[in-house]
C-alpha cells in the first residue's frame, strides 16, 4: 500500500524511473562494464550534452504554447563553434571567460526568442524553427568545417587520459541540477507551472506572464550554455553541424522523461532520467552485435520505447483517473 502510494506520488517520472531500473538491471547482466570507473566516467562524458540539452528544453516547454525549442541543437553548435573559433582561436582561453560566454550567449539567444514569442506573438515552434535554420547557416559561416582545438585546461575534461568519477563534466551536470533545484524553490517556479498549464488563469490571478516566460527561456539558455560546454569538452574541437543531431534526441529524451509538450509539466529529474535512458539504450544495444545496422537499430529502439512509454503513460493515467 505504502509502495503504491509513494509510487503514485512520483507522478510523471514513474514511467521513466521504471524504464531506468529495467535498463540498469538488463545492463548489469548483459554489459556489467558500465559499473566500473571507466564505464561510469565514459557514461557521464557522453551523456552530459544530452542531459543538459534536455534540461535546457524543460523550462521552455513548461512555459506552454507548445514551445519546443527545436533550435537547441544548432544553438549548442553555435556556442561550440564560437567558443572554438572566436575565443580559443584568438587565444582567449580563460576558463571563466569561456564559461561566461557560453552561458550569456545561450541565455541571450533564448531571451531574444522569448521576446519574439511574447511581444510579436509568433507561435514558439515557428520561432524555434526559424532559429534552427538561421543558426545552421550562421554556424557554417563561423566555421565551415570541423576543426580548431579546445583550450588546454579543457582537455582534462574530455576524458583523454585516466577515467575519473568526479570529472569536471559531472560537476557541470550537478551544478545545472543544483541551479534547477534553486529555481524550483522560488515563487517563479510555481508561476511558471501555472502559466504553462493555463495562461489565462495565470494572467487573471496577477502573474506577470511575460516576465515568467522570459525568465524560463533565459534559464533554458543558461542550460544550453552548459550543454555546449560539455559538448565542446566531448569533441575537444569545433563542429558546425554535429550539434543539430541533439535536437531530435533532446526532444525524445524530454518526452521520455515525462514532460508534457503542451506545457505546465516538466522536472529536472524527468529530463535527467529521459536523457540517461536514451544513453542506456544505446549502451545496451552496443553490447549486442548488430554490426553495421547498430546506428539504425538504435534509432528504431528510441522510437519504439518512446511510443511504448507514452502508451503506458496514457493507460496508467486513465486507470488512475477512473479510480478516482
Amino acid at each position: 500500500m505504502l509502495i503504491t502510494k509513494t509510487f503514485r506520488s512520483l507522478g510523471s517520472i514513474k514511467i521513466p524511473l521504471i524504464l531506468f531500473m529495467i535498463l540498469l538491471f538488463v545492463i548489469s547482466i548483459q554489459a556489467p562494464k558500465l559499473f566500473s570507473v571507466s564505464g561510469f566516467s565514459n557514461a557521464i562524458l557522453v551523456s552530459a550534452p544530452l542531459i543538459l540539452a534536455t534540461l535546457a528544453l524543460t523550462p521552455i516547454v513548461m512555459a506552454g504554447r507548445g514551445a519546443v525549442d527545436l533550435s537547441i541543437g544548432p544553438l549548442i553548435s553555435f556556442l561550440n563553434v564560437t567558443l572554438i573559433a572566436w575565443l580559443s582561436g584568438n587565444n582567449i582561453t580563460n576558463p571563466i571567460v569561456f564559461c561566461l560566454w557560453a552561458v550569456i550567449a545561450g541565455a541571450g539567444y533564448q531571451i531574444i526568442q522569448a521576446l519574439i514569442v511574447t511581444y510579436i506573438r509568433i507561435a514558439p515552434i515557428i520561432v524555434a524553427l526559424s532559429g534552427y535554420l538561421i543558426l545552421t547557416g550562421v554556424n557554417l559561416m563561423v566555421m565551415s568545417r570541423p576543426g580548431g582545438l579546445s583550450p588546454e585546461w579543457m582537455s582534462s575534461w574530455s576524458g583523454g587520459g585516466e577515467p575519473q568519477i568526479f570529472s569536471p563534466i559531472l560537476i557541470l551536470v550537478l551544478t545545472a541540477l543544483g541551479l534547477w533545484g534553486l529555481f524550483t524553490r522560488t515563487g517563479l517556479y510555481k508561476q511558471l507551472r501555472l502559466v504553462g498549464s493555463d495562461e489565462r488563469m495565470a494572467y487573471t490571478s496577477g502573474v506577470r506572464v511575460d516576465f515568467v516566460r522570459i525568465v524560463a527561456y533565459a534559464l533554458g539558455g543558461v542550460f544550453a550554455g552548459f550543454a555546449a560546454l560539455s559538448y565542446t569538452a566531448l569533441v575537444s574541437s569545433g563542429d558546425p553541424t554535429q550539434g543539430a543531431t541533439y535536437t531530435l534526441q533532446a526532444v525524445t529524451a524530454l518526452v521520455l522523461g515525462g514532460a508534457s509538450l503542451s506545457g505546465g509539466r516538466g522536472t529536472a529529474t524527468g529530463a535527467l532520467l529521459g536523457a540517461l535512458n536514451m544513453f542506456l539504450i544505446t549502451y545496451l544495444l552496443g553490447a549486442f552485435s548488430f554490426g553495421s545496422l547498430s546506428g539504425y537499430i538504435t534509432s528504431l529502439a528510441y522510437g519504439g520505447i518512446l511510443a511504448a512509454s507514452l502508451l503506458v503513460n496514457v493507460v496508467s493515467n486513465r486507470s488512475s483517473v477512473s479510480r478516482g
Binding site: 554489459a31 562494464k33 566500473s36 571507466s38 564505464g39 565514459n42 562524458l45 557522453v46 550534452p49 544530452l50 565551415s144 568545417r145 570541423p146 576543426g147 580548431g148 582545438l149 582537455s155 574530455s158 576524458g159 583523454g160 587520459g161 585516466e162 577515467p163 559538448y231 566531448l234 569533441v235 575537444s236 574541437s237 569545433g238 563542429d239 558546425p240 553541424t241 554535429q242 543531431t245 544513453f279 544505446t282 549502451y283 552496443g286 553490447a287 552485435s289 548488430f290 554490426g291 553495421s292 545496422l293 547498430s294 546506428g295 539504425y296 538504435t298 534509432s299
Partner: protein, 381 residues
C-alpha cells in the same frame, strides 16, 4: 619583465614549430623515394609527423579482437568495405591465428554515438580499433583514451588529426586535384563545372574539394557554378543534381563528383535530357558499365578511394603495428591510380549491369605492394 616573457614565448613557439617541422620532414624523408611525390600535395590538416606508435607493443598476444567503428552504412562503398573486412580479411587472419573476432558498430553520422561506441569497445577489451572517414577532430580525445589503454586506432579512407592514430588512405587532396585537372583538360580548359561534394565536414570529402578547387583555379576560363553535397550516396547525389539542373538553366560542361555517387550524378544527367557531359568516375561498376557501353564518353577514370583496398591496407597496417613492426609515419597515403576503358572491359562482362552495386578496384599488389608496405615500418617482418 614583460618583454622578456614575450620573447620567451616567441622562442618557445618558434622551437616547437622548428622541431615539429623537423619531425615532419624526417617522417616523410624516411620513406622510399618512390613515395615522395605522393606527399607533395597534401591537405595541410593531415598529420605527417613521426608516429608515437613506433615502439608500440600489443597488450595481448594474438589472436586479437578488433573493433570496427564505422560512421555510416547507407551506401555501396561502406557495404563493400564491410564485406572486405568480414568476409575476406577476417577469415584469412583467423586461419593465420592473428585475429579472433571483429566487432562492428555504426553511428549513423553522429559523432557522440561513435565516441561512445569506441569507448565501449576499449572497455570491452578490443586490441585495436579501425574507424572510417570520421570527423577529423571530434574523436581525438577518445583516440587518446584508447591509446592510454593500449588500444591503437587506425583511420582508413580519411584522417583524424590526433597524433595517436594512424591514418591510412589515398591522398584524397591529390586525387581531387588530379580529377579536377583531368576534367578541365577533358572539357578543353573552359566552361561551367558543377562540383558534387561528399559529406562536407568529413575528412576525405573536404580534402577532395580542396584539391579539386585548386586544380580548377588553374584554369581561369572554368567556373564552378554549383556546389552540391551528394552524401556519398547515389540516390542523394541524383536528387541534389536533379534539383540543381531543374532550377539552373545555365549550361553545364562538366561535373566533378566524389565517388560512391557518380552513378547518381550520371542518372540525373540522363534524366535531365541535357546532352551528356564528362563526369569524373571513381570506381562504381554501374557508371563504369555506362562508360563501357558509350566508349566515347570520357577518356579516363581514377581509383580515388577503392573501398576494399583502403580497408585491406588499413588491416595490413594494423596487423603490422600489433606485431610491433613500428610504423614510421602518422599517415600512410596512396596515390590515385588511373583506370582505362580497357580495365573496365576486363573487369565487367559485356552485358554489365547499369544498376550494379559492385566496385571496380585495383589489386592489392597495385594499391599497397608488399615491398612498399615494408618500407613504412621500422622492423618489417
Amino acid at each position: 619583465m614583460k618583454i622578456s616573457r614575450l620573447s620567451l614565448i616567441i622562442a618557445a613557439i618558434g622551437s616547437t614549430y622548428l622541431s615539429a617541422g623537423a619531425a615532419l620532414a624526417d617522417a616523410v624523408q624516411s620513406l622510399p623515394d618512390s613515395e615522395q611525390p605522393i606527399y607533395a600535395l597534401v591537405d595541410p590538416q593531415i598529420p605527417l609527423g613521426e608516429s608515437p606508435l613506433t615502439d608500440f607493443k600489443a597488450k595481448n598476444p594474438p589472436p586479437w579482437k578488433i573493433g570496427y567503428a564505422s560512421s555510416y552504412a547507407g551506401n555501396t562503398w561502406r557495404a563493400e568495405s564491410l564485406n572486405e573486412i568480414m568476409n575476406v580479411l577476417l577469415p584469412e587472419a583467423k586461419e593465420a591465428g592473428l585475429v579472433s573476432e571483429v566487432v562492428v558498430t555504426q553511428s549513423d553520422l553522429k559523432d557522440a554515438v561513435q565516441i561512445q561506441q569506441m569507448r565501449q569497445m576499449v572497455d570491452d577489451g578490443v586490441d585495436a580499433i579501425i574507424i572510417c572517414c570520421s570527423n577529423v577532430t571530434a574523436l581525438n580525445s577518445t583516440i587518446e583514451y584508447a591509446y592510454s589503454k593500449g588500444v591503437p586506432v587506425f583511420s582508413f579512407s580519411g584522417y583524424v588529426t590526433s597524433p595517436y592514430a594512424i591514418n591510412v588512405a589515398a591522398n584524397h587532396m591529390l586525387g581531387g586535384y588530379e580529377m579536377g585537372k583531368w576534367l578541365a583538360e577533358e572539357i578543353g580548359g573552359k566552361g561551367n563545372v558543377v562540383l558534387v561534394s561528399g559529406i562536407p565536414g568529413f575528412a576525405s570529402s573536404d580534402s577532395f574539394d580542396l584539391g579539386a578547387k585548386k586544380a580548377l583555379e588553374e584554369y581561369p576560363d572554368i567556373s564552378i557554378i554549383g556546389e552540391l553535397a551528394g552524401k556519398w550516396t547515389d540516390q542523394v547525389a541524383q536528387t541534389e543534381l536533379q534539383k540543381f539542373l531543374a532550377t539552373n538553366p545555365r549550361q553545364v560542361d562538366g561535373i566533378i563528383t566524389q565517388s560512391a555517387q557518380e552513378n547518381g550524378v550520371l542518372n540525373a544527367m540522363l534524366q535531365s535530357g541535357r546532352p551528356m557531359v564528362p563526369i569524373t568516375l571513381g570506381g562504381e561498376a554501374s557508371a563504369a558499365c555506362y562508360w563501357s557501353k558509350n566508349p566515347d564518353w570520357i577518356s579516363s577514370s581514377f581509383h580515388i578511394w577503392p573501398p576494399a583496398r583502403e580497408m585491406s591496407q588499413a588491416w595490413d597496417v594494423m596487423l603490422r603495428t600489433l606485431q610491433g613492426q613500428g610504423p614510421k609515419i602518422q599517415s600512410m597515403l596512396r596515390p590515385v591510380l588511373p583506370y582505362s576503358l580497357a580495365d573496365v572491359r576486363e573487369a565487367l562482362p559485356e552485358d554489365c549491369n547499369l544498376n550494379s552495386t559492385d566496385w571496380i578496384q585495383p589489386s592489392n599488389s597495385e594499391w599497397w605492394p608488399e615491398d612498399i608496405a615494408e618500407q613504412y615500418f621500422h622492423n618489417p617482418s
